[in-house]
Symmetry: C2
Subunit: 186 residues, 2 copies
DNA sequence: AATGCCATGTAACCGGTTACATGATTTA
DNA sequence: TAAATCATGTAACCGGTTACATGGCATT
């Protein structure tokens, strides 16, 4: 149940319409919690029905008309409750690691290209994060909020760094392996 | 669409019944693709209907009776196809990073305990991975299959290492921040 | 008037989660 | 024979994904 809280956070940072939220999810928020516009509109409806947010009264509510929302006191309280609540980490699900394991059984033929492609994507993402860090977090000045936001960005940078390094190892290993399937099961 | 392929891989490594698969998912496979027994039985039924696996004929198929499966040629081919196919990386979804971002808005009160708990869980997982590495991958000997399996385990070790380090940074930062909510929005 | 974009939605589907049901086998 | 455990399943739900629909506004 994280999507409503992601939206509450985004709306507290700045009241927005559904489409504006969608764009912000495509950018910064989506780096660790992505959402499509369909999800966002659906969730905005629920949050409004639950009394956690409200539409800004200025605009008339009609189809095709922009409708902006702001967080109510109950919404802020719910977000604070959720942030402080204990939550178990959900298990990973990584198809790429699964494919490597499958390749140990059926062979590595065809894998190398996609590993290279993934490496490029992660390198691109890493560069993007580093650019954000350079722009938004110059050394020296860090308020309380900045400290936390920088910490989150650091997680993104370190994760992408890990993936690029791991993929380089993987490519080196796969390159010197025979293409076909290995010997049968033990 | 990774669950069926995770099952095919597991069955190629060793033909098994549904419950045996469930246990193997709890152990090694589940480290990067978890599944419950309900999912597994459902998927075994589909895979059998699609002609990718078959029940071993020895056992009688009755409720409460063990039923083991093996992979057919079509199943192995499908797994090889999937392993080689290009697949886009799916976007991350990490509630913990989201909570940090929310904490930048509503304050860090109550967060510290859960960060500590997560740190302990990741340290435990890391120790488990390292033990597996010590036991299954002694230095020196690595066949082709071993090389790939070791690579996957290395990903687990490095990811857990990242998380433990990041959580220690996070705890240090949160500890020296005021508990309450920070100043209002810009 | 036609085209294209902005903005908000609806509907169907699909995989994962949770709760529960049922039969068979072992052990007290 | 009662309880516990092994083993296989069914059903309802829920969040995320994909495809499509509709209205308003700006440009040509």
């Amino acid at each position: 149940m994280s999507l409503p809280h992601a939206i509450l956070t985004a709306l507290l940072e700045k009241p927005s319409s559904g489409l504006e939220l969608t764009r912000r999810f495509d950018r910064s928020i989506g780096y660790f919690w992505s959402a499509t516009h369909q999800q966002i509109y659906r969730e905005l409806g629920k949050l409004e029905a639950d009394g956690l947010i409200r539409a800004l009264p200025s605009e008339q509510p009609a189809r095709g008309q922009k409708k902006s929302y702001e967080v109510l006191a109950a919404g802020r309280a719910e977000l604070a409750r959720w942030t402080a609540a204990s939550q178990d980490p959900k298990p990973h699900r990584d198809p790429l690691l699964l494919r490597l394991r499958a390749a140990a059984v059926v062979g590595t033929a065809g894998l190398e290209d996609d590993l290279r492609r993934h490496l490029e994507l992660h390198e691109k993402q890493l560069a993007e994060y580093r650019e954000i860090e350079r722009r938004d977090f110059p050394p020296g000045r860090d308020s309380a909020e900045d400290r936390l936001r920088h910490l989150v960005l650091r997680a993104g940078i370190d994760l992408e760094t890990f993936w690029t390094q791991w993929l380089r190892h993987a490519l080196a290993d796969v390159a010197e392996l025979p293409d076909g399937e290995p010997a049968g099961p033990a």
